[in-house]
């Protein structure tokens, strides 16, 4: 019986994504910040940050972005760039302590500075539809954008 080398495949996809991104000068962002999980406000960010505090974002050359985080969730959307400030709108899978469901997201961010590494701050809000109603996870995060 043959086994699929999942780990090797993931590493390969990750490496290719990084190379492609770098070649096209599209940013990969690593952001840290506490998420709003639907139980009131947020807790302070963990030191070191927990998995729930981390988000990875990737923006393609034609300004489509992919965001991966435990909370507010997994999203694909279009970024509108204003050379520093930006807005994003799209959809995906919203995740909070009260459930998981599909829905839209919007984000407002800023890439400060110039060069390969820039300081990034972003507020992202999402709405997810679940069988019990809507969930409204969000996160205010800061980090680094690698161009």
């Amino acid at each position: 019986m043959t086994t699929i080398p999942i780990k090797k495949l993931l590493w390969m996809i990750g490496t290719l994504t990084l190379i492609e991104s770098k070649a096209l000068s599209a940013p990969i962002s690593l952001r840290f910040g506490p998420p709003g999980v639907g139980t009131g406000g947020t807790n302070p960010v963990g030191i070191p940050p927990s998995l729930a505090d981390i988000e990875i974002g990737y923006v393609s050359a034609n300004k489509w972005e992919t965001n991966i985080s435990a909370i507010p969730g997994l999203f694909i959307g279009k970024r509108i760039d204003f050379k520093g400030p930006y807005m994003s709108l799209g959809g995906g899978l919203a995740i909070s302590a009260n459930g998981v469901g599909p829905g839209p997201y919007s984000a407002f961010g800023y890439d400060f500075g110039s060069g390969s590494f820039r300081f990034n701050a972003e507020y992202k809000q999402a709405i997810g539809l679940t069988s019990k109603g809507t969930i409204n996870p969000y996160a205010l995060r800061i980090g680094i954008a690698w161009y």
Binding site: P34, G41, P44, L89, I127, G133, T134, I135
Partner: protein, 178 residues
């Protein structure tokens, strides 16, 4: 609502309006509207709210969100005022807003049999407003907009570690321009 609370509401309202009117005077157009919102306070519970909206042609936008509820002797009132800059996002039907916001959350407890124990308190905070508005329908006179606003408020010194509170308002609004 006691006199102190009334004063604070009027103070914020007047401050916001005076800033808005002074900017609007320098502008060449005006837009006013009102509507309903579903507000979420960070706990995934949605509450009905009313919203008043005014904006200049140059995109300076002033919004006042009001909601509350009564539980027997407990009365809650929540007010959020924001002044934001608005701009077109990709097309004229989509608009983004970023600006400042001030919030007043008021709680009043009344004891009918023991008025001396009546109590009230107001929690005030300053934060930021991030909004996304969509022009869903328009005639020559009115426009219908779907709005999605987020209000972020720092949680005191905990904001050093990004601790915050958030209000989200999803709404429908009718407006007119002149």
């Amino acid at each position: 609502m006691n006199r102190i609370q009334k004063k604070s509401i009027w103070r914020y309202s007047l401050l916001s309006l005076s800033i808005f009117v002074s900017i609007a005077k320098a502008s060449y157009g005006f837009e006013i509207g009102s509507g309903v919102s579903a507000v979420e306070d960070g706990d995934d519970r949605v509450r009905p709210a009313a919203v008043i909206h005014a904006s200049t042609a140059s995109g300076i936008t002033n919004r006042f969100l009001f909601y509350g509820r009564d539980f027997g002797p407990v009365k809650e009132r929540n007010y959020v005022l924001s002044i934001s800059k608005r701009w077109d996002v990709g097309s004229k039907t989509w608009q983004g807003l970023v600006g400042g916001a001030v919030m007043a959350d008021q709680t009043e407890i009344t004891f009918p049999n023991s008025p001396a124990d009546n109590t009230s308190y107001t929690s005030t905070n300053f934060g930021m407003n991030f909004g996304l508005h969509w022009l869903a329908y328009e005639t020559k006179v009115v426009q219908l907009k779907a709005t999605w606003d987020g209000y972020i408020f720092p949680a005191g010194t905990g904001f050093i570690f990004l601790a915050n509170a958030r209000k989200s308002a999803l709404g429908l609004m009718l407006q007119t321009q002149f």
